[in-house]
């Protein structure tokens, strides 16, 4: 089981990547920052970075304004 944003639960699958998690959660924001177990994952690695079972993933949505 994977926990996303300390709230949502997602069933873990063998070989699951960060991209798979984002797709499964329906994240559509164009600008996000992602961590897996508190470690930053850069965008170029979303397709290849494997997510271990029992991971905690954070997806920060970045919105304009400051």
């Amino acid at each position: 089981m994977i926990i996303v944003n300390n709230r949502d639960k997602l069933e873990w699958k063998n070989g699951m990547t960060v991209r798979d998690v984002l797709s499964a959660m329906g994240h559509v924001y164009p600008l996000i920052t992602v961590t897996v177990n508190e470690e930053l994952v850069e965008e170029e690695d979303y397709d290849t970075r494997k997510v271990p079972d029992n991971s905690s993933i954070s997806v920060f949505h970045l919105a304009h304004g400051g």
């Binding site: 996000i32 905690s56 920060f60 970045l62 304009h64 304004g65």
Partner: protein, 202 residues
């Protein structure tokens, strides 16, 4: 009477030996910097490429007499008017992936206070890659009005984001919500410094 006589007991000594970088001096950065100065932070490293305009005054910590000045100069004057002993390192420059670390890196933590989401992203990620042990306290989703209960703190390790992560600039920017989030950033910065520097002393 000293400036920090009414401060939270025990924090003045810690903040007196702390430095914070503030990237961007708009609604978030200017208000966060003022709260940090009032709290007793001894050094602020501030960076912004812009000048103060009339349209900034609905939410940013500037005054009519500041219009036309660089934001770093105007804000530096205000910070020193609050605490004459504060050290303000000013950088009137456009921060980039290439210069950010050398300009902002010599501090305990970073306050991200940019306007554009794409710039927030590279700033947060560049800092996180370079400094595993120093937090970046960012903001996302502070536009519009009301919806105070939607403002939250989302953290993962040393990446901390304040705001609702939804509202964007298309809703307009209004002083209360921008200032609340700026002060959430400042509050988290102080909390992190006090907690971690106290621990370092043990």
């Amino acid at each position: 009477m000293s400036l920090f006589e009414r401060n939270v007991p025990g924090i003045t000594e810690i903040l007196k030996n702390s430095a914070i970088s503030v990237a961007g001096l708009g609604g978030l950065g200017s208000n966060a910097a003022v709260s940090l100065a009032r709290s007793g932070i001894s050094k602020l490293i501030i960076a912004d490429f812009d000048h103060v305009e009339q349209s900034n005054l609905n939410r940013q910590y500037y005054f009519q007499s500041d219009i036309g000045k660089t934001k770093v100069d105007a804000l530096s004057d205000h910070l020193k008017n609050i605490n004459p002993d504060i050290i303000v390192e000013k950088h009137h420059v456009k921060l980039t992936k290439d210069n950010m670390i050398s300009i902002m890196g010599d501090s305990d933590l970073l306050i991200e206070a940019f306007d554009k989401a794409s710039e927030k992203k590279w700033l947060i990620e560049t800092w996180a890659v370079n400094f595993k042990d120093k937090p970046v306290i960012a903001a996302s989703g502070l536009s519009g009005m009301g919806k105070t209960e939607d403002l939250k703190v989302h953290r993962s390790g040393n990446i901390i984001v304040c705001g609702d992560e939804i509202t964007d600039i298309s809703e307009g920017l209004c002083a209360p919500r921008v200032s609340i989030v700026a002060n959430m950033q400042a509050n988290l910065a102080i909390e992190w410094l006090v907690k971690n520097k106290k621990r370092d002393k043990i």
